[in-house]
Symmetry: C2
Subunit: 174 residues, 2 copies
């Protein structure tokens, strides 16, 4: 597997491994529609929080702007404390199958990581809802870890009964 640089922003580090093909260049198996965009405070990658917890710590809210045809789908969402946001991380490469996270010593499989670089760059974010305006298609959320104008794929209500595994464990050095 060649270890040549992919781009200035996403250099390949030692131990990392590319896919034999670039999923972005393949004939797709299924097609997505964008239902809106995130209005985020972050316009540069170096400013963007690396995960939701860090984003919430910044104390800056964000807005989800939903396109007109999809706004009726927000009806009833304001009864929930949290939502699950799925985004399309359109600025991430898709062809790295092993990656070495910053501050990690060894490369790990993409599916053991939450890196934006993955065959299907779908971002998953669990965030507190501040307010929902169905008519205008605006959801204010407590914070977000994606760049401004990131496309939105889906919003789901969060259910603690199935989604919250408080005692889930991870490797000591993950």
């Amino acid at each position: 597997m060649a270890l040549t640089a992919h781009s200035a922003e996403f250099d390949v580090r030692p131990g990392e491994q590319r896919l034999p093909h670039d999923p972005a260049a393949r004939a797709p198996d299924a097609g997505l529609v964008f239902i809106g965009r995130v209005a985020s405070p972050w316009t540069r990658r170096e400013d963007c929080p690396k995960n939701t917890m860090e984003a919430l710590g910044r104390g800056k809210t964000a807005r989800l702007k939903i396109d007109e045809p999809y706004r009726a789908g927000l009806d009833g969402l304001d009864g929930y404390s949290h939502l699950i946001l799925l985004t399309w991380l359109d600025r991430a490469p898709r062809d790295l199958i092993k990656q070495t996270p910053r501050h990690a010593e060894t490369a790990r499989g993409t599916f053991a990581l939450r890196s934006p670089v993955r065959p299907n760059p779908i971002g998953l974010h669990v965030v507190p809802i501040v307010s929902v305006n169905v008519a205008e298609g605006i959801i204010e959320i407590a914070g977000i870890d994606v760049l401004d104008e990131t496309p939105i794929l889906d919003i789901k209500s969060y259910f603690a009964s199935t989604d919250a595994i408080a005692d889930a464990t991870r490797p000591v050095k993950a």
Copy 2:
């Protein structure tokens, strides 16, 4: 909005609302690749559990079969207790923006629900990992609420710190 039946399996109920277009018929904004398939005990919709909690209660494991090029991406996943599985619910219609769940009195927005019927039918499942075989591309999980041969889009490690909101609340009648 016409309330004609869409299919025998997904009748439109009172209060439900269709999109003005069918996302499945649109030119896609982005393309997905399938990285594998779920081997599930459920081959008929009427047998399939309606959510992960019900699936785990059935006591039947399932397997995630990952295609060869993507298997290296599983390295390190076995250190986690739970994973997040994203599936492509390829047998669900995509054009219903308000829906009346079974046993519910009124219709609600699709994004306030976890129905498989949504503009981008991406299924989100938090499940306990039983075992991971990287070389064969097989993950055994404790249970699943999708039909056999459902395509897999992504696997992510589950982090209680950002994904588990144990005190998240929902409407009393949700």
